[in-house]
């Protein structure tokens, strides 16, 4: 038996979304169980199952540095102030 992670999606809407996991003996049975467990009432029309031991998981420390990169953002405040000042000086 293997553990499979299950992803579903509705056509034209949303991204593939992780909905849960299941245990199955083969890939084919994993698909059957996923369909009957997670898409019983047409909650989606696309289905992926991925063996859990095939998922490549990033370590938190690997992901963490990008939580501290303010220079990759611009909230527009400085531009807005200049625009406003510029409009007022033209009036």
């Amino acid at each position: 038996m293997h553990v499979y992670e299950v992803f579903t999606k509705r056509d034209g809407r949303d991204e593939f979304r992780h909905v849960g996991a299941l245990e199955a003996a083969t890939d084919e049975l994993a698909l059957v169980l996923a369909r009957e467990g997670y898409l019983r009432r047409a909650e989606g029309d696309r289905l992926w199952v991925v063996r859990r031991d095939h998922v490549i998981v990033a370590d938190d420390n690997f992901v963490a540095p990008n939580a501290d990169k303010p220079h990759r953002h611009h909230d527009g405040a400085a531009v807005a102030a200049r625009r406003k000042a510029s409009r007022q000086s033209q009036q």
């Binding site: 038996m1 849960g20 996991a21 003996a25 019983r40």
Partner: protein, 311 residues
């Protein structure tokens, strides 16, 4: 790895702040065991409920209702699958260990599945009263549950339980609008199932209940039980049925129904596997598991070690 907390106080602050615990978090062991026990009991109850439902497929009157019972049986067994997976991921027991414990009578499942459904009226009473009670409990857990994987699985389980409850209500209304014999049949079932359904919520929550403190449950048992009473007592009376509670009274001042004192002894007996139908139910479930071993073996390409299987 994911988050960890230096002290229980830090962890409880995180939970009080609405934090969601994920499976790879380094959660305190006591929390892991509490959330596991709760989900294991839910999983067991879905499986035992599904097996009960299955018994009624051949006996359900009419093709439309037969198909609905078939679908409901699949739903319940499916819920068992999903919940055993969420429980197994906590690493306390494998799925095989959980099933072995259930079939050996070592673990718990809901009180209502320790009674026998004798008539179609019983089946209707279960679908209406018991499914509604289960739904009220699950909604309260879902609302604020601190364990993320369980909360997400509950969303879909609740959607499906909603179908079951409406199906039960549909059937109850057909019986209520039926012949005197049909009404008498349902009244008998109501007499049998009213108290077990009410007892499903359990006795009043203790002040130090960790399930509440750790936001695994978000409402006290007595609050949920009262919600069920206030909804179903007037509804059943409205259809002309008698509530089998001798001390039932309407409190005009508080504008609420009071069912009177509750005898918790029957609930306690079911928790010790000593309910009226506990032994037969557990034996049937265990026999069923053995009878279907060849299917699991065939699906696992005859790999006996993978039978039923964990990790």
């Amino acid at each position: 790895m994911a988050r960890s907390w230096a002290t229980m106080a830090d962890f409880e602050d995180f939970l009080d702040g609405g934090g969601l615990v994920e499976v790879d978090d380094d959660m305190p062991d006591a929390y892991r065991r509490a959330v596991f026990a709760f989900i294991e009991m839910h999983a067991n109850s879905e499986l035992m409920g599904g097996l009960t439902e299955r018994d009624w497929i051949p006996k359900t009157p009419g093709l439309r209702h037969k198909m609905a019972v078939l679908a409901k049986t699949q739903d319940e067994i499916g819920h068992g699958h999903l919940l055993y997976m969420v429980a197994a991921d906590l690493g306390v027991k494998t799925r095989t260990e959980m099933l072995e414990d259930l079939f050996a009578g070592r673990s718990r499942f809901h009180n209502v599945f320790h009674y026998r459904a004798v008539t179609w009226g019983d089946q209707v009473a279960i679908a209406f009263l018991v499914d509604a009670a289960a739904l009220i409990s699950q909604q309260a857990v879902f609302k604020n549950c601190s364990y993320g994987p369980y909360k997400r699985i509950l969303r879909r389980i609740i959607a499906e339980e909603g179908f079951h409850m409406r199906l039960g209500e549909d059937r109850m209304m057909r019986i209520a609008e039926g012949t005197a014999r049909q009404r008498a049949l349902f009244q008998e079932s109501l007499d049998r199932w009213f108290w077990p359904a009410l007892q499903l919520f359990g006795p009043d929550s203790k002040p130090d209940d960790v399930l509440l403190r750790w936001h695994i449950k978000s409402e006290r048992n007595e609050v949920l039980r009262d919600r069920w009473v206030q909804k179903f007592v007037p509804m059943l009376q409205g259809y002309g049925f008698t509530i089998p509670a001798p001390d039932l009274r309407w409190d005009a001042e508080a504008r609420r129904w009071d069912v009177g004192p509750i005898d918790w002894a029957p609930l306690k007996r079911t928790l010790a596997q000593g309910g009226p139908d506990s032994a037969r139910r557990i034996r049937e479930a265990a026999d069923n598991w053995e009878r279907t071993a060849w299917v699991r073996a065939a699906l696992s390409n005859g790999d006996a070690a993978a039978d039923g299987a964990g990790r």
